[in-house]
Amino acid sequence: MMNAHRAAARLRLRLRRGKSAMALCGTVVAMVAMVAMVGCSRPAAPQPGDPLLDAIRAEERGAGHLTYAESQGKALFSHYCSTCHGDEGRGDGQNASNLTPPPPDLTVPKNVSDQALVRKVIAEGSAAIGRSPLSPPWGRSLTRQQIDYLVAYCQSLGRKKS
């Protein structure tokens, strides 16, 4: 008799455990389904872009991956320097043939590797480093900021080739 009671109780317990396990399983399945449904109802939308920023970056890439400072320097370079140094800094500007000694090729890394020297030539002229006076001083015409940009651009010219 006792045995029968115990057996019945064990059975009930097992049933109950089974029930709770089933309930647990059900819950998990339901949650997974919900997550899946939520996921499905929102198809993976493309990340919203910043077209303005992309346009500017595309232009920077087109100019040869210049940093902000370098691209600023490039604009200054084409105004102040390119008549002699050439559009690409190769020393082949339209006025270069009138100059002896000719302007150096700035795409040769060693010509622009020394930042302090480049800065000095731009700000104080080539005479300041004991060379010919043909490259004039821009230190009084340009702001320090503008000279920083020019230095950065000149150095990027050497980097591109290396």
Partner: protein, 668 residues
């Protein structure tokens, strides 16, 4: 017996729990404060400082600790950025990692932090003290995250509302495009007050252009002229037809034809020679090369009717009173040859000119008039009899402050910001899912981006007036009398300016021209304008002026456009020693790299062989001593000359006259 009211056990437990929770929260708050991002950052900075600075420097440095902030009372801003960016104004940290590195460039000198703070230029949330809350990156519901460097110049525009800052070329380019494209015709744009834009006068267009060209133009202006300033209005075919009829009916001033002109004798070769001699390419491009003041001429033969062009070249001001085109002094035969050359050389189609009939259809003309009015054509093209509709586009005041979530983005998948909206609107006005009457200007994306950057700095009332730099609109210059007639006829102000009013193609404004150039030189130059700057592409036209006219202008210049400071210069007693010293300086400074004397020298700057006949000494000395004061952006370097040296150079240059060779400036 007193009955002790028993406090239920439950309440005991609850109070205990609350106490524990309170203690936990308290401990958590303390811990959180102690380990706050900015505190750990400051601790890291302390360790970095110990490695970077020597003990002496450290002793001198102000003790860093606690929250730091810049309070800009008049802006109502508090910027706490310096709580973490601790090395921002100390060059020792030049190459330190973020957030400790020194501010690059000279920006903190030109924009002192105690007046401008950080977020005025960079954007972001100044009051925040951790990386995320400061909006270093864009995030949801954040109206003004920090700007990336690529577009930071947009923020310059908020204070530099009209004066173009020299270190913000993208902003400046965007503004140039706004002015050039005539945006101000349809939109009120703060900072552009006083800027005007006018398209060609259309009152006599019926006589001027070919009907088939007009139809194609209205359909797609860029198809004819890739540089066209007119956008594509996306007109329907029926609208185009009626607009075409309406425009062809505009025949206010009939072209004057000279019956004695024998077209069978027209010489294309003569015309070509004249085209070169008159320097038409200074203002008009052909196949992409040349000036931009006038329209490109590459296919002008497809566009114009012969009688109309003849009449226009003969006297441009009769049918188009506001054109920048000057009136040359040419014979009818010369005008005929030039007309023939232009129409025969610069054409793509062989179709002969057709007589136009459509404009007689009164119904189509009336419909076209309605289209003309409705689409706001009058904003750029004034027509007699049609009321000025004013600006048809909305005002752009405060456009950058518009709520990004209220704007329509169409099918574009973009982050919702006012500037992305502006960008898309400028690039493709019809792509934003709402009807738009704004024409498509076919800007390149980078151009549209720069325009959008220029507009994205236009905020409502963000800054006190003391921060905003405004432009002073130059007052119009309209001289009277005989001189005024000549200025009008030769359209001097299309290229030259007076007090900032006029064109900027020429490097010589009139303001002090009488103190710069000698009287006789002006008179002879006007009769035969030579090339003073050898490498310049844009050159002064050869007007075919009469000697009387040239003398009249030279008299006026030398009597009116004077600068007393330059006139007072004592040039009476240059000694030979001074001239010799000047010659030596000329060699030492390397002037030869840009200037030619005789046959040697570069051709960046003006040729100097006959400077003594050309320039007044007072001007030479003043310009050499301070070139950028007189010509901002000039390629003349500032050598920091002492007044003695400037005088010596002036003595030398003034001694140069009737030099061995002078490049003649005749026909090219």
């Amino acid at each position: 017996m007193e009955v002790k009211q028993a406090i239920p056990v439950r309440l005991h437990v609850m109070i205990a729990c609350l106490a524990v929770a309170f203690l936990l929260i308290f401990a958590w708050v303390l811990l959180r404060e102690e380990t706050a991002e900015w505190r750990t950052t400051q601790a890291r900075f302390g360790r970095l400082e110990a490695t970077v600075k020597n003990p002496h420097q450290r002793a001198q440095a102000a003790h860093v600790g606690g929250l730091r902030q810049i309070w800009l009372e008049d802006l109502g801003r508090v910027d706490r950025c310096t709580t973490c960016h601790l090395g921002i104004d100390d060059p020792v940290f030049d190459s330190a990692p973020q957030p400790f590195s020194t501010h690059p460039g000279a920006w903190l000198t030109s924009h002192p932090p105690d007046r401008f703070g950080c977020t005025v230029c960079h954007g972001g949330q100044g009051q925040a003290t951790d990386y995320l809350a400061a909006a270093h990156q864009p995030r949801a519901f954040e109206p003004r995250p920090m700007r990336p460097l690529e577009t930071i110049e947009a923020n310059c525009g908020t204070c530099h509302r009209a004066l173009d800052p020299p270190d913000a070329p993208r902003l400046v380019e965007g503004r140039r495009l706004i002015v050039e494209s005539g945006c101000v015709s349809c939109h009120e744009i703060p900072g552009f007050e006083g800027v005007t834009f006018a398209g060609p006068a259309l009152a006599s267009i019926g006589y001027k252009v070919r009907p088939e060209w007009l139809r194609a133009w209205l359909k797609d202006p860029k198809g004819y002229l890739s540089q066209s300033k007119m956008g594509n209005f996306r007109l329907s075919d029926s609208d185009i037809a009626s607009l075409q009829a309406f425009l062809l009916s505009q025949r206010a001033v009939a072209p004057v034809e000279n019956p004695r002109v024998d077209w069978s004798k027209a010489s294309v070769d003569n015309g070509r020679a004249l085209f070169g001699e008159l320097r038409c390419v200074s203002c008009h491009a052909v196949k992409g090369r040349g000036g931009t003041i006038g329209p490109e001429l590459t296919s002008v033969g497809d566009k114009l009717r012969r009688a109309g062009l003849f009449d226009f070249l003969k006297d441009p001001h009769r049918s188009q009173p506001d054109t920048p085109m000057l009136q040359y002094r040419l014979t009818d035969e010369q005008v005929r040859d030039l007309t023939e050359f232009l129409l025969e050389t610069y054409r793509t189609s062989e179709t002969p000119e057709s007589a136009s009939a459509a404009y007689q259809d009164a119904r189509a003309v009336a419909l076209g008039r309605a289209v003309f009015e409705k689409r706001g054509c009058t904003s750029c093209h004034r027509l007699p009899g049609i009321a000025d509709s004013g600006r048809v586009g909305p005002s752009l005041a405060g456009i950058a402050d518009r709520d990004p979530d209220q704007l329509s983005y169409g099918k574009n998948s973009v982050r919702r910001t006012a500037e992305n909206y502006i960008f898309l609107k400028v690039l493709r006005p019809d792509s934003l899912g709402e009807p738009s009457t704004m024409p498509t200007f076919s800007f390149a994306p980078a151009q549209a981006a720069k325009i959008a950057m220029a507009l994205a700095g236009i905020r409502k009332a963000d800054l006190p007036a003391s921060y905003v730099q405004k432009r002073q609109t130059p007052s119009p210059y309209k001289p009277a009398g005989r001189f005024g007639e000549l200025v009008d006829r030769y359209r001097c102000l299309s290229c030259h300016s007076v007090g900032g009013y006029g064109g900027d193609l020429s490097t010589v404004p009139f303001d002090r021209i009488g103190s710069q150039l000698k009287h006789d030189y002006i008179a002879s130059y006007l009769l035969n304008p030579g090339a003073v700057r050898v490498s310049l592409e844009a050159r002064m036209p050869v007007f075919h002026m009469t000697p009387d006219e040239a003398t009249m202008i030279a008299d006026y210049f030398s009597g009116v456009f004077l600068d007393d400071d330059l006139e007072r210069y004592d040039a009476g007693a240059f000694t030979p020693q001074e001239a010799l010293r000047g010659q030596e300086l000329y060699r030492q400074l390397g002037c030869v790299s840009c200037h030619q004397i005789g046959t040697t020298g570069g051709y960046v700057g003006p040729e100097l062989s006959r400077t003594g006949e050309r320039l007044k000494p007072g001007w030479i000395a003043a310009f050499l001593a301070a070139p950028t004061r007189y010509k901002p952006g000039t390629l003349q370097p500032d050598y920091g000359l002492s007044s003695t040296d400037a005088r010596a150079l002036t003595a030398y240059l003034s001694s140069l006259s009737a030099g061995p060779v002078r490049k003649s400036g005749g026909a090219r």
